[in-house]
């Protein structure tokens, strides 16, 4: 198991190196002189030239990339923000917790709602409950995150005045963003749980378990759900990527100081080092979640655990 984790961690390195390389070269070819951006339009050409020389902006591409990577690996340094003049890593440290909290709460919301609804839908296939939940799931999948966010704000903070529409200080502030971000995942997970449960629910071993006189709850949860979990975990893992992406939109609706908003603001101010850092940190988070999902398989399914050895 440990060997497997080590191998997977090693495999993450080339992917992340690739991400840094692609993002670095993309922003390198972006039109516009970084020195000009930092110093402003009023700076003299000499000052700009001096800044370029000081910062090593005149060096060849690979030298610049090498320096960026050296600073990143040795000092965890992602460069300096053009607009705030602060180290990018500090900006990210300030913003990352909010994004993680938001994504985590949305995921929790999606799992807590999606899995039970999916199970009940599968047990009572074609019942009114099943029809309704599938109809809602279809709507949820087609619902744009940002529109749902606006509608929820309209209903719960403008009309009813129950929940705050922006800010991020109390748990109350988290409800609307987490619900609007998680809604789509609820839909995906519900559908996945239902179809995956339906596949196992008519199998012989379930009949055997019932025939043995096991409690219906035990049959459904231990025997059926246990075997239906793998596709559910897979889809939940993939949803996490969608949540990280969707967080960009949600953060901007609810004025949450997270990575997504940081990136959007940075692009508008042409602050490329910050954009670079943001993309990298999200890719890192996503890769780690994917690894965790694969490890979770082993806990759920002993057959997979045996393969990891």
């Amino acid at each position: 198991m440990l060997k497997y984790v080590g191998k997977r961690l090693l495999m993450m390195i080339p992917v992340l190196l690739g991400v840094t390389f692609i993002i670095f070269s993309m922003l390198y070819i972006t039109p516009g002189d970084p020195a000009r951006l930092v110093l402003g339009d009023s700076a003299s050409p000499e000052a700009v030239e001096q800044y370029r020389e000081e910062q090593g902006l005149n060096d060849p591409f690979l030298v610049q990339y090498g320096r960026y990577m050296k600073n990143l690996i040795l000092h965890g340094d992602l460069g300096t923000s053009y607009s705030t003049k602060k180290p990018v890593i500090d900006l990210i440290k300030d913003c990352f917790p909010a994004t993680v909290k938001l994504a985590f709460c949305s995921m929790l919301f999606a799992l807590v709602l999606g899995i039970p609804i999916g199970i009940i839908s599968a047990i009572k296939q074609y019942s009114i409950f099943d029809m309704c939940s599938m109809a809602f799931a279809l709507l949820g999948i087609s619902m744009p995150v940002f529109w749902l966010g606006l509608l929820l704000t309209l209903l719960f903070s403008v009309k009813l005045g129950w929940l705050p529409s922006s800010g991020f200080n109390t748990p109350l502030h988290l409800i609307l963003p987490a619900v609007s971000l998680g809604a789509q995942s609820v839909a995906v997970i519900t559908r996945m749980t239902r179809s995956s449960m339906l596949e196992v629910i008519n199998m012989d071993y379930i009949k055997t378990a019932r025939a043995k006189g096991l409690h219906e709850k035990t049959v459904i949860i231990r025997h059926a759900l246990g075997n239906a979990l793998i596709p559910i975990i897979t889809s939940a893992g993939l949803q996490f990527g969608t949540l990280l992406g969707g967080a960009v939109l949600t953060e901007s609706i609810f004025s949450i100081p997270g990575i997504g908003r940081l990136m959007v603001d940075s692009i508008k101010m042409r602050d490329f080092p910050t954009v670079q850092g943001g993309v990298l940190i999200i890719a890192l988070a996503f890769s780690i979640v994917n690894l965790l999902v694969d490890l979770l398989y082993a806990f759920v399914d002993p057959r997979i655990k045996a393969q990891y050895k």
């Binding site: 692609i22 922003l27 709507l139 309209l154 939109l249 993309v279 999200i282």
Partner: protein, 285 residues
Amino acid sequence: MEKKKKFAQLGDIWKRLRKNKLAVLGLIIIVIIFLVAIFANFIAPYSYDQQDLLSCFQGPSAQHWFGTDEFGRDIFSRVVYGTRISLLIGFVAVAIAMVIGVLLGAFSGYYGATVDNVIMRLMDILLSIPQIILAIAIVAVLGNGLFNLMLAVGISSIPHYARIVRASVLSVKDQEFIEAAKAAGSSDLRIIFKHIIPNCLAPIIVQATLGVAMAILTAAGLSFVGLGISPPTPEWGSMLSSARSYIRDYAYMTMFPGLAIMITIFALNVLGDGLRDALDPKQKK
């Protein structure tokens, strides 16, 4: 003879698709949206950028079905013209992704070894960034605007096509008819384009249908945060973005563009799901 067989196949698919009521509903909605886009200038009662400062913020009425916005522009007309922009973005972005993705996937699967390794590792790298974040990064490089947005959304969905095509190529590459084509002296390119890609069409069509929905949604999201299309172009996402400032007093402004996005995405999703079932040979009876 050949042609007849193809039509028979299409007929089979249509027969199976027709049984799925939701998919048919999706298809009907898509056709209607297409007609609205094509005949937008006949349907819309006003032009999309015609301002009338005397009638700003008017709620829905007989004159302005969806009301007017902060510049007195008719929201119904803007939503109608918006179908053009959204469909354009959806289809062009998917076309970009499909052409590049299918080629990469086909070469990767067909040649294997180093080519496969290089292409697929590159795809892994792109897949390790959530799609909308990748699109944002590309927009950061290219800048705002309609074409750049289509390019960004298109490039960021290339890996999905490459992976699907590669998997299907691997499943057909060792079959006899490919060997026969090789023995007959066909060139690699001919084999890829004439024999392999046509055999992988089913999953590509399904992915493309769902991909158009994804592309429209991503583009609307980017416009919503101000990284896509900016006013006065009537893009649904950017319309929502400006409506957001007036949500306290003029909530109707946020309803219609959002509804338009949702209906479009819904139709494409159910059609895609239906096509997946109809094209799946395992379900043939």
